[in-house]
């Protein structure tokens, strides 16, 4: 029988797939944003602020942020599983990571839709 720790691995292909899917979303967004910045030189406040006034841009930026946070979770969890062998400490670090990512999500939403 396989012993399962609360912070251990029981999530296989789903997280693997989430890692790849979020990577592809970030890849496309990164190239699009880079292309915008490169083709709109010199960048000033009016252009930059104007870009994030569009709901479509806000939506895809949020999609990028959510992908980043899912991607980060899988990555950091893997790193913690590999190097932090004390279950209690690993649980604490994983919980702290989740808490940070939830806060970042709320922060992203408020900064995208809050500022006008």
């Amino acid at each position: 029988m396989v012993k399962r720790a609360i912070t251990g691995a029981h999530y296989g292909v789903r997280d693997w797939l989430a890692q790849r899917l979020s990577a592809v979303i970030m890849l496309v967004y990164s190239i699009a944003l880079l292309a915008y910045v490169v083709t709109h030189q010199p960048m000033d406040y009016t252009l930059w602020h104007g870009l994030f006034q569009h709901d479509v841009v806000r939506f895809f930026t949020l999609l990028f942020a959510l992908s980043l946070f899912v991607h980060t979770w899988v990555g950091v969890r893997d790193v913690l599983m590999d190097y932090v062998h004390a279950t209690g400490l690993r649980l604490a670090l994983q919980a702290a990571t989740i808490a940070a990512l939830v806060i970042y999500t709320m922060w992203t939403i408020s900064l995208l839709w809050g500022a006008r």
Partner: protein
């Protein structure tokens, strides 16, 4: 059990092949990028706050330096990650080719960093 077998646990003596180093650095850059998320969000918030705060950010040499390192880590993680995605599709799994694409990751990252540096300074 034979006790005299060589065990190289001295990390400075273990020489990993390049694809292994690419993988390890992908991990390190990933952790660094995770730690940089609050900086990224703060920068985005400041850049959108007002024209004055946008200008402060744009003219800050500390911001330039931070942006440089953030983009450098992102570029590396991007290209190494792209290589892993292609490996997942069974593209470039032969040893010779895997080494070649490892060099390509380093080359593409170096080129991006040089272009970024030239653009920022």
């Amino acid at each position: 059990m034979k006790q005299s077998r060589p065990v190289y646990l001295d990390l400075l003596r273990i020489r990993q092949p390049l694809p292994a180093m690419i993988s390890l650095m992908h991990r390190i850059s990933g952790v660094l990028l995770f730690l940089a998320i609050p900086l990224l969000l703060t920068a985005l918030q400041e850049s959108l706050a007002s024209p004055a705060r946008f200008n402060i950010l744009q003219q800050s040499s500390e911001f330039k330096l931070a942006l440089f390192f953030l983009c450098a880590a992102y570029a590396y993680h991007f290209f190494a990650g792209l290589r892993f995605l292609l490996l997942d599709l069974h593209w470039g799994t032969a040893l010779k080719f895997a080494r070649l694409t490892s060099w390509a990751v380093l080359g593409a990252t170096l080129l991006s960093i040089l272009l970024l540096g030239a653009w920022l300074w």
